[in-house]
Every structure is written in structure tokens, then in C-alpha cells.
């Protein structure tokens, strides 16, 4: 997609180093904290770079840690673009290519925000609801194997993306802006959202066909009451409840609905 942007500098990220960084990058959020978020996770990912060097320079290690111990937060699925790029910048600095020592920080901060925004739109607001609704659709059809297969396919693909993006970020280095400018991102976000909505409608439609078979007087109204509540509640409350809060609201509404379905004395 953006190979034309790659500059060959002769730098290489060996397979051992790549594997070590990749495995650590899977735990980028393990030490997530409210104060500096993924800072310890990022530093942990970059540690193999230091340990792969011959000899130990405590002063250089201190400066290295200080550089990466500030606030950092990005989308975990796209973080490896940044980590790969940082490894390349660090190598270039070590090779004495005259880079400004503040450059990796600017690179980290600006790309962190950009990939956080892209990743949240693509993964959390696009792919996640799409996949979840597809899983629910399969669940309504009682395809248990299909559900696990669907999640498994996503898992393999996202691990592949992380492995590939680590190398891609390394190859691109400062040229990663070309990748960010690519229209692919916005197209992907748009289509994943559409897929999510399509799958949401599919689940709703399948549910409707299920309640058709019930001899329950309030069959369809259970779906529409829920939909109306789901759409209307945030407008009334002016805030969006988490799923667990919605569950409590649903218990209250279910209680009221029982009087319509099974009147007193029924």
C-alpha cells in the first residue's frame, strides 16, 4: 500500500528482536494506569532493543527509560506501527545519524494520538460491534462452533496485523505520514460501521421471526419496547449507561411488562 514511501537506510530489525518486541507488545496495556496509561507497557516493549546491545551503559539506560516513561496512550491494535518506528529512530540515534533526541518523543506523542483516534474508530466503534452482532446472529441460530470460529479468525487476523505493522512501522520510520494519509482508513471505518449496523438489523430481524412463533400476547412488543428504551433512555437521561446499568433498567421494565402479559389473577 505504501511501499513507495519506504526509504532504504540499510537498517534491519532482526527476527529475534522482532519476535521479542512483538510478544511484549501484546501486553502493552498490562500495566495500564490512570496517570500515564501505557507508558510502562511501551517501555517494556522497547527493552529488548537495549538488551540486544553489547555491553551495558547505565547512563544510556537511564536516559532511555526517562525518554519513554512519560504519558503514552494509543490503540493497542495499531500500536506496533509506532513501536516499530521508535525502534528505527533509536537505532538511527545510536548510529550517530545526528537525530534530535526529542524527535522520538514528538514521534511517539503525535502518532500515539493519531493511531488512538483511528484505532478507536476502526476497532472499538466499527469492527467490535460488527463482530459482536455477527456472533449474536450465529448465537440465535445456535451455531456455537461458528461463534468460536469467528472470534478465532479475528484473533489470528489482529495478531497478524500486529506482527506486520511492527515491521511496517520500522520500515517507514518518519515516512509513516504517507500511511496515515491513505484513504484506506476512512473507507474501512465507514464500511465497518455499515457492517455493524447491517448486522444489528439482522439480529433484530431474526429476533422478530423468533417471537412470531411465541403465543405470547406481548411477543413483538418486547423487542420494540427494548429498542425504544435503548434509543430513548440516553436522550432522557442525557447520559449513556453501561450495559450493567441497562440490565437493571431492563429488570424494572420487565417487572412492569409482566402485568401486561400475565395480569393479576391470571
Amino acid at each position: 500500500m505504501t511501499d513507495r514511501c519506504v526509504q532504504d537506510t540499510g537498517q534491519k530489525m532482526g527476527c529475534r528482536l522482532r519476535l521479542k518486541v512483538f510478544l511484549r507488545s501484546l501486553a502493552l496495556q498490562a500495566s495500564w494506569n490512570p496517570q500515564r496509561m501505557q507508558n510502562l507497557g511501551l517501555l517494556s516493549c522497547l527493552l529488548p532493543l537495549r538488551s540486544s546491545r553489547p555491553g551495558q551503559d547505565i547512563n544510556a539506560d537511564r536516559i532511555f527509560c526517562r525518554r519513554y516513561y512519560e504519558f503514552f496512550n494509543t490503540n493497542p491494535y495499531l500500536a506496533n506501527f509506532i513501536i516499530g518506528g521508535l525502534i528505527r529512530l533509536e537505532q538511527e540515534m545510536d548510529d550517530g545519524q545526528g537525530l534530535d533526541p526529542h524527535l522520538p518523543l514528538t514521534y511517539r506523542d503525535s502518532l500515539g494520538r493519531t493511531f488512538a483516534s483511528l484505532g478507536d474508530q476502526l476497532f472499538w466503534l466499527g469492527l467490535r460491534p460488527a463482530l459482536i452482532m455477527v456472533l449474536c446472529f450465529l448465537g440465535l441460530l445456535e451455531h456455537t462452533g461458528g461463534i468460536l470460529l469467528g472470534v478465532g479468525i479475528f484473533a489470528v487476523l489482529q495478531l497478524g496485523l500486529r506482527w506486520w505493522s511492527l515491521h511496517k512501522g520500522y520500515l517507514l520510520g518518519m515516512e509513516i505520514l504517507g500511511l496515515l494519509r491513505h484513504p484506506f482508513w476512512h473507507t474501512a471505518i465507514k464500511w465497518t460501521r455499515r457492517t455493524a449496523m447491517l448486522a444489528t438489523g439482522l439480529v433484530g430481524g431474526l429476533f422478530l421471526t423468533r417471537v412470531q412463533d411465541m403465543s405470547l400476547p406481548a411477543g413483538k412488543s418486547l423487542l420494540w419496547a427494548g429498542v425504544a428504551l435503548g434509543v430513548g433512555l440516553p436522550l432522557i437521561m442525557r447520559r449513556r449507561l453501561p450495559g450493567e446499568g441497562l440490565l437493571v433498567v431492563a429488570v424494572g421494565l420487565s417487572f412492569l411488562l409482566t402485568f401486561a402479559i400475565w395480569p393479576p389473577g391470571h
Binding site: L26, A30, S31, W32, Q35, N39, L40, G41, L43, S44, L47, R50, D61, R62, C65, R66, W124, L125, M133, C136, G139, L140, E142, T144, I147, L148, V151, A155, Q158, L159, R193, R194, T195, M197, L198, T200, G201, G205, L206, L208, Q212, M214, L216, L222, L223, G226, V227, G230, V231, L235, R240, G243, E244, A250, V251, L253, S254, F255, T258, W262
Partner: protein, 250 residues
């Protein structure tokens, strides 16, 4: 049910297996890999498979997934502890000797009071687990600040061990919490069901049928405020055409 039967301790190997599963799923939630196997539906199915009853997993996991679909495990937002709560609910249901039917597959809702009871349990325990998650994150802050010593002495191993400590804590949280939740469900929550008034049991029977609409409505509200809602409508019509037209034509 006798008191001895009520407080009978589950098989240790069964508990250990569920603790292992819950620990791994807790790691998967935000700490490690984030493969989405920790989402309520796959987590419930996995727990069901581990317990030898995947349909019980599906019965609890499907309504729970629909209502928790709106939770985003991003930054400071509410996260809950759905994976552990789901595994505990499925494990306790199987241990109680019940085989649950999947709601929304065409049968009457009356048998689903117990499903609603367990879904309510999983949702409530997930909400309670949220406070533990927050406490753990505050502990992460303290450990992260401990790493400042490396900024003075250059000891890189400390950073690696702090990260490993965070991972181990998360795994332990999931493993221990699932055992506590499961015992609570088995010894208190499930026996309580048969003492509920009929009206409450009917409420719980309705619950799994109401949750899909509520979950879908919330998703449409959250993601469909633009022209994307047309796609939801298209999906609805497509499903009706796929599953209802053949019956009408026949």
C-alpha cells in the same frame, strides 16, 4: 435441599479449570492480546464447553452479550468484569445440575426465569468487579511510580519485573474472583431463586426477551445517529426476508 447439599464444595479440579479459564480471559480483556474471546458470548461458550454443556453457556452468554455490547474497554470508560462473571454464572448453573435452554429460539418464555436470574447475577457481579478493576489500576500507578528508581539507577530488569507483576496480578484477580463468585452463586444466589415470588420469577422470564431489543436500541443510538441507520433497516428487512418469507410462501 439439605444444608449439607447446599454447602457442598465443588470438585477442586473443576474449580481449578474454571479459575485457569477465568484468569486467561481476564488477561485477554485488556492486558494481553485482546483477542475478544473474553467477550461475554465467547467466554460463556468456552466456559460451557469446559463444563461439558455449551448450550448453558449460550443461554447465559447471548442475552448478556447483547446488553453488554455497548461497553467499551477503552481508557477510563466503564469496563466491568464481564468475562469472570460470565464464567462463574455458567459454571454455577452447570454445577447446580440444570441444563438451560437458549432463549429466543422460539419457545415460550416461562422456562427462562432461571436464565434471567443467572443473567442478572452475571451483570451484577460484573458491575461489582468493576471496582476491583479500578483498584488494580490504581495499584498499577503505584508500581509504575516505583519504576522511577530505574530512572536513577538504570536497572532495566526492574521495569520488566513490574510489567510481569501487573500481568500476574490480573491473572490472579480473575482466577480468585471466579472461585468466590461461583461459590456465592452456588451457595446463595441459585438456592434463592426458588423462594422468589411468582411475579419476580415472571419478571426474570421476560428479561432475556427484553434485553436484545434494549441492546440493539442502544447500539443504534450509539452508532447509528447518521445515515448508518439505513443499514440497520436493510439488515432487518434482509433477516425477515431470509427467515420469514420461506414460511409465508410455504
Amino acid at each position: 435441599m439439605s444444608v449439607m447439599a447446599l454447602i457442598a464444595f465443588p470438585d477442586i479440579s473443576f474449580l481449578a479449570l474454571l479459575a485457569l479459564l477465568a484468569g486467561l480471559l481476564t488477561l485477554d480483556d485488556t492486558s494481553l492480546a485482546q483477542t475478544w474471546f473474553s467477550q461475554p458470548l465467547p467466554a460463556a461458550l468456552l466456559a460451557g464447553f469446559f463444563c461439558g454443556d455449551p448450550l448453558t453457556g449460550l443461554a447465559i452468554g447471548l442475552p448478556l452479550q447483547l446488553i453488554l455490547a455497548v461497553n467499551l474497554p477503552v481508557g477510563q470508560s466503564f469496563t466491568g468484569e464481564p468475562a469472570v462473571a460470565t464464567v462463574a454464572a455458567v459454571g454455577a448453573s452447570v454445577l447446580s445440575g440444570r441444563t438451560l435452554m437458549v432463549p429466543m429460539v422460539g419457545a415460550e418464555p416461562q422456562p427462562f426465569g432461571f436464565v434471567g436470574w443467572m443473567v442478572l447475577a452475571a451483570g451484577s457481579l460484573s458491575a461489582l468487579g468493576h471496582f476491583l478493576v479500578q483498584a488494580e489500576r490504581r495499584a498499577h500507578t503505584l508500581w509504575m511510580l516505583e519504576g522511577h528508581r530505574t530512572l536513577r539507577d538504570g536497572n532495566l530488569d526492574r521495569m520488566a519485573s513490574l510489567q510481569a507483576r501487573c500481568l500476574a496480578t490480573t491473572f490472579l484477580r480473575g482466577s480468585l474472583l471466579v472461585v468466590l463468585m461461583l461459590l456465592f452463586l452456588l451457595w446463595a444466589w441459585i438456592p434463592l431463586y426458588q423462594h422468589l415470588p411468582l411475579r419476580l420469577q415472571q419478571t426474570l422470564a421476560i428479561l432475556p426477551w427484553l434485553l436484545p431489543g434494549l441492546g440493539l436500541g442502544t447500539l443504534v443510538d450509539r452508532y447509528g445517529r447518521s445515515r448508518a441507520w439505513l443499514w440497520a433497516l436493510a439488515g432487518l428487512l434482509l433477516a425477515l426476508a431470509m427467515f420469514q418469507l420461506p414460511g409465508v410462501l410455504a
